[in-house]
Symmetry: C2
Subunit: 211 residues, 2 copies
DNA sequence: ACGCGCATCCCTCCATCGGGTGACTGCCAG
DNA sequence: CTGGCAGTCACCCGATGGAGGGATGCGCGT
């Protein structure tokens, strides 16, 4: 497969809702014969452009309004299970990183990395490798042990976050206060939280609750 | 003053810790005679490059590790009260937006805006105007009525956020539990929160607490 | 000198919270 | 079909939280 690299350039699709970032990416590829940018768009048009161009590698921002990068990744991988997708995000501690990897992303580039890192990752991913930076991998490892709350527990915590008492949470979910207390106890245990307030901050930090 | 624009290009300094964004900005200015980019760097070198180039307009990202964009703005305005600084940020709901304006920023550009918006803002700011997009101005208006917590209240809430009880907060701050309760009561009143948990979510949303 | 905001401390009172324990249902996988 | 898990409900109890009330001192600006 590496032979192909010499025959035709690696085609790249960039998905980001920031025109400035797209300009930057385009600038990186400018004048390169090894790769070329076949398209650039935001999340909504990601799948359509993928189907149209069938790029070798797709660069995908995670933080986008409307269709999230996560959804876009899932849609593309659903359409083409062999799609090579590289996540392009701002923060290494991105709470969606793990989900992106699970969704099928095979590369991960931080926006504060150099252009050479970007190019190197694209080459590696195109050659069939996974390219996850060590610092990101370590972040991921922490979240791998991520205890997931049950749907019910998430609902309870969501209401607790906006100041509802156990009684009012019960009223809101149409269950008894006692049941709410059970859920809350389990939440505290799972998150290793001292109290409901702590649980909310932990959940926000982990992306369980979107504030 | 508009005559100057024809005599020499508007000099622009770009400050952002993302090389990709800097590439994008550079790409926007490429081949333009009206303006030219005199420098690009991250937050730490912002002041030094400002002093070196004395640009007409400075583009400043707010979200940066180490020296924040906010600090950089303050440092530059301290050095040169007439500095024309345009904030360049990702989210219109940026909690630091108000502080940036207060710190002396005279323009505000969202990264999801088009290059023409960026250029237009630079022209406007250079001509001596303030350029704050309507949608941002409206966001700002909401935060204008921002109730600010006292330093002590912030400390109390910060400890409450990580699950400390009033008693332990008192121990941590070396004050009595009763005093903590008074602070907490004032916090709840100021934020219109139902309880401490709600107060924390509100504070996080407003950027009072950085999660 | 006065007011005012901030911070400190003290008291009472009651609702709420969180831990412990136990038990019943429904469902799905082994 | 038997276990495990999610969800439900119940009761007890000690600790905590939040709403009142009132009080002192300190600094700061007018």
């Amino acid at each position: 497969m590496t032979l192909l690299q010499h025959n035709r350039p690696i085609s790249v699709l960039a998905v980001d809702d920031h025109p400035l970032i797209l300009e930057g990416i385009a600038a990186v590829f400018e004048g390169m014969s090894e790769m070329n940018l076949v398209g650039a768009c935001d999340g909504r048009q990601a799948l359509a452009l993928y189907q149209q161009h069938l790029p070798d590698v797709t660069l995908m921002d995670l933080q986008m309004p409307g269709v999230s990068g996560l959804e876009a990744i899932e849609l593309i991988r659903q359409y083409d299970p062999h799609a090579r997708i590289v996540v392009l995000t701002t923060y290494k501690g991105d709470v969606h990183a793990l989900r992106a990897i699970k969704a099928g992303a095979v590369g991960y580039v931080l926006k504060n990395m150099m252009r050479t890192d970007l190019l190197e990752t694209i080459r590696g991913v195109h050659a069939g490798h996974r390219r996850i930076p060590a610092e990101v991998a370590m972040e991921l490892a922490e979240y791998m042990s991520e205890v997931s709350l049950t749907p019910r527990e998430t609902e309870v915590l969501k209401l607790a976050a906006v100041g509802k008492s156990n009684k009012r949470i019960g009223a809101g979910l149409d269950i008894s206060e006692d049941t709410v207390k059970v859920h809350m106890k389990n939440i505290l245990a799972k998150l290793h939280a001292a109290d409901r307030t702590h649980a909310v901050t932990i959940a926000v930090r982990r992306g369980i609750l979107q504030f």
